[in-house]
């Protein structure tokens, strides 16, 4: 629930007092003028009866005083009820009503017995004294405002006394015929008005010595507010350090200070951590090292308070002598964020009160820095996740969705990425003239970079496999596998980081020639079922991975191989994720087991063979996390060759 604020909360009490003072001054001047007129009339012996002028002056002065009193009471009511509850407001109402009632009774010339009048008078006076105790507004003044309040209240008091003095004299004047009793209400009111002013004045006066404490408290609160606001606005670590530094110096009025921030793990080295200094020479910072050294056997720096530097001889090397110092480490349970050093000219400046303020500051700072770090970490995690998701999406699109089909071969594919994004890739191109180009490969590394190079390889594949219109011979229309590897290696030279490489195998199958040429660049050996020999074996050919040698010398490290296939032959192309799959004991699946598996199922369709092989790999490594990407392609040359 929101509480309706008091009219005076956060407003200027001094303004209120000043308005009152100005009115009092105006009215007092008016009173002086009236007295002057009265005196002049008496001196010049005007034809009018002297007591008439005096009576008129007296009546006007009385009216002015009543106006002044009313305004004073009105102002006092605001001050009394400031930060007061409903009870106080009721009490004030009772006070006002009683006062009004007393006046009314006197105006009606109802003669009270003197005893009753005295009783009511004393009762109201005591009530007024009680109400005068409500001076909460004084606590909200700062030092200079308090001095102003004292002077303004003295002035208001002076004006009241001036009026009372005149009225009392005038009443005693024999020429005036006024009932004395009417004044008792005024006396009562002015008694309260004056008493409240005096009480406020005294309280303000005695408040002066502790005003500084209030101001200091306020500075602390403001400092803390700034610190916590900074976290909410998500500002940088340097700003938090700066805020702590400024707040600490201001609040404890340090004569010199240094803040040495500590770099956080994972923080980029690009922003140099400059120490914050206040009245402290940069060259002297090196003198602080022994004070900031961690406790033996730990990484934590101790808190160090020295309230008598003159005796302890610490920091003697400094050109300016200081009386006391405090070294406060900025530490959380896990991190060290730096140290704050504060110096004071006076000895014993760091008492428990000051230290508790400083501890609040440092604790808040550490909290802010930690929050900041957490926020940044979660942000960068989120960004990585997003990047991976995008990369996975890109890679998903790179996988050929439609497999080439023709009546002379069957293809079956299987691919499984180990992480969000893997480094495996494959692609097909069905070329005119019943040719089929097949590429498989593995980029070293994982994640976004690997996905990027995968996309690059796919681009290279499609670029190189454009038919050359200038080729004279049919077999020169497309680069042979050896040429393909050399050109791909050259293309990758400039964009692959030095420690990365790519393994690839490329096959160019020519149905009309009934054979295929292929080259292996560091990729896993191709497993082959030879239907005539009824034998399963690996093509153990030589060939260096792409990106390992980055000059013309690569040409010698890759070879073109030829093979005539027969109907019923099966080619199994895969990545190392298949043969390096591990079981619970860390054993690798291996080439031999794969070979034996093909021996058992070569007669099946490409799809069935693929399923058979991958199920065996999955069974072998069941319960184990996927160690690496797995890709498995099975190409089967159909037994029934329709065109031959």
């Amino acid at each position: 629930m929101r509480v309706q604020p008091d009219a005076l909360v956060g407003q200027n009490f001094i303004g209120l007092l000043r308005v009152l003072f100005r009115r009092g001054l105006t009215l007092s001047v008016a009173l002086m003028v009236l007295i002057g007129v009265d005196r002049a009339a008496a001196a010049h012996a005007l034809p009018l009866p002297g007591n008439i002028i005096t009576a008129v002056v007296y009546t006007i002065a009385l009216a002015l005083f009543i106006i002044f009193l009313a305004q004073t009471l009105y102002a006092w009511r605001s001050l009394v009820s400031f930060r007061g509850g409903a009870k106080l407001r009721r009490e004030w109402l009772v006070f006002e009503l009683t006062l009004g009632l007393a006046l009314l009774m006197q105006l009606l010339v109802w003669q009270m017995s003197p005893g009753l009048r005295l009783g009511i008078g004393i009762g109201l006076a005591l009530f007024g004294v009680y109400l005068s105790g409500h001076q909460r507004w004084v606590a909200y003044l700062n030092n200079s405002q308090k001095w102003q309040a004292i002077l303004l209240q003295l002035g208001i008091l002076g004006f009241t006394l001036l009026f009372l003095f005149y009225l009392r004299n005038a009443q005693a004047d024999p020429v005036l015929l006024a009932p004395a009793t009417q004044l008792s209400f005024l006396v009562l009111s002015s008694f309260f008005a004056s008493f409240y002013a005096i009480a406020g004045l005294l309280i303000t006066l005695f408040n002066l010595p502790i005003a500084e404490v209030f101001e200091q408290r306020r500075a602390e609160i403001l400092g803390l507010q700034h610190l916590s606001q900074i976290i909410q606005r998500g500002q940088s670590a340097p700003e938090i350090y700066q805020m702590l530094f400024n707040s600490a110096i201001q609040t404890i009025k340090a004569n010199a200070a240094v803040l040495l921030p500590e770099r956080q793990p994972g923080e980029l080295a690009k922003s140099p951590l400059t120490p914050l200094r206040y009245q402290f020479a940069a060259d002297d910072i090196s003198l602080l090292a022994p004070l900031l050294a961690p406790l033996p056997g730990t990484l934590r720096a101790p808190e160090l308070i020295d309230n008598n530097l003159e005796r302890s001889k610490r920091l003697e090397a400094l050109s300016t002598p200081y009386g006391s110092m405090a070294v406060l480490p900025l530490q959380s349970a896990t991190h060290n964020y730096g140290s704050l050093l504060l110096l004071h000219k006076e000895p014993h400046a760091f008492d428990s009160e000051v230290l508790s303020i400083l501890h609040t500051f440092t604790a808040q700072t550490v909290l802010s820095l930690e929050n900041l770090q957490l926020a940044q970490e979660s942000l960068s995690n989120q960004r990585t996740q997003d990047e991976l998701r995008i990369a996975a999406l890109v890679q998903e699109r790179l996988i050929p969705k439609r497999l080439p089909t023709d009546d002379w071969f069957e293809i079956s594919t299987y691919a499984q990425a180990a992480k969000e994004v893997g480094g495996d890739f494959y692609d097909f191109l069905h070329l005119p003239g019943q040719k089929l180009a097949v590429l498989i490969g593995d980029v070293s590394g994982k994640g976004v970079t690997a996905a990027f190079h995968t996309a690059q390889m796919k681009g290279i594949f499609h670029a190189l496999m454009q038919a050359n219109p200038l080729a004279k011979k049919e077999r020169d229309r497309y680069p042979d596998p050896h040429r393909f590897m050399v050109q791909a290696n050259e293309a990758l030279t400039h964009c692959l980081e030095r420690s990365s490489f790519i393994t690839a195998a490329f096959y160019l199958i020519d149905y009309q020639a009934g054979g295929f040429s292929f080259a292996r660049a560091g990729h896993c050996h191709t497993l082959y079922y030879h239907s005539i020999k009824e034998e399963v074996s690996y093509f153990r050919t030589e060939g260096l991975g792409l990106g390992i040698i980055r000059d013309a010398g690569y040409e010698k490290h890759v070879k073109n191989q030829f093979w005539d296939y027969n109907p019923g032959d099966v080619m199994v192309i895969y990545t190392d994720g298949i043969v390096e799959a591990r079981d619970g004991e860390g054993n690798e699946y291996g080439e031999e087991r794969l070979r034996q598996m093909l021996e058992a199922c070569f007669y099946q369709s490409a799809e069935e063979i693929n399923e058979h092989l991958r199920h065996d790999v999955q069974e072998f490594s069941s319960g184990q996390p996927l160690h690496d990407d797995q890709t498995l392609l099975v190409i089967k040359f159909k037994a029934a060759q329709p065109h031959t």
């Binding site: 590394g445 420690s499 990365s500 490489f501």
Partner: protein, 109 residues
């Protein structure tokens, strides 16, 4: 994985123990990145206890191969397990890098 080093006047021997994967590759890379490594005549890599090498591990050797060759520092692997040698061989590195069976041969290389 653990990497320990032995030095004689002209030879630095790196003893690899365990699996050389992406995370341990960083340690090895830091070791090979030291500038003083170019002062040796030979860098021998003892692979007896190297049980596995990932592509990241191979990448470290590949990326330093040229640098060492340019400074006339020989990089020689010895005591390599068959499984690990197979990985080098498939990638074609056996034709590029000096891999010998025993330490004596490595010293003599």
């Amino acid at each position: 994985m653990k990497v320990t080093t032995h030095t004689t006047t002209d030879t630095l021997t790196l003893v690899l123990d365990g699996e050389l994967d992406a995370s341990s590759a960083v340690v090895l890379d830091a070791e090979l990145n030291k500038p003083e490594i170019l002062n040796y005549r030979k860098v021998l890599v003892d692979c007896q206890r190297l049980s596995y090498i990932s592509s990241a591990g191979l990448g470290v050797f590949i990326s330093h191969l040229q640098r060492l060759q340019d400074s006339d520092v020989k990089l020689v692997f010895f005591n390599m397990q068959e499984k690990v040698f197979n990985v080098f061989e498939i990638l074609g590195l056996d034709s590029l890098m000096n891999i010998v069976p025993t330490e004596q041969e490595a010293q003599a290389a």
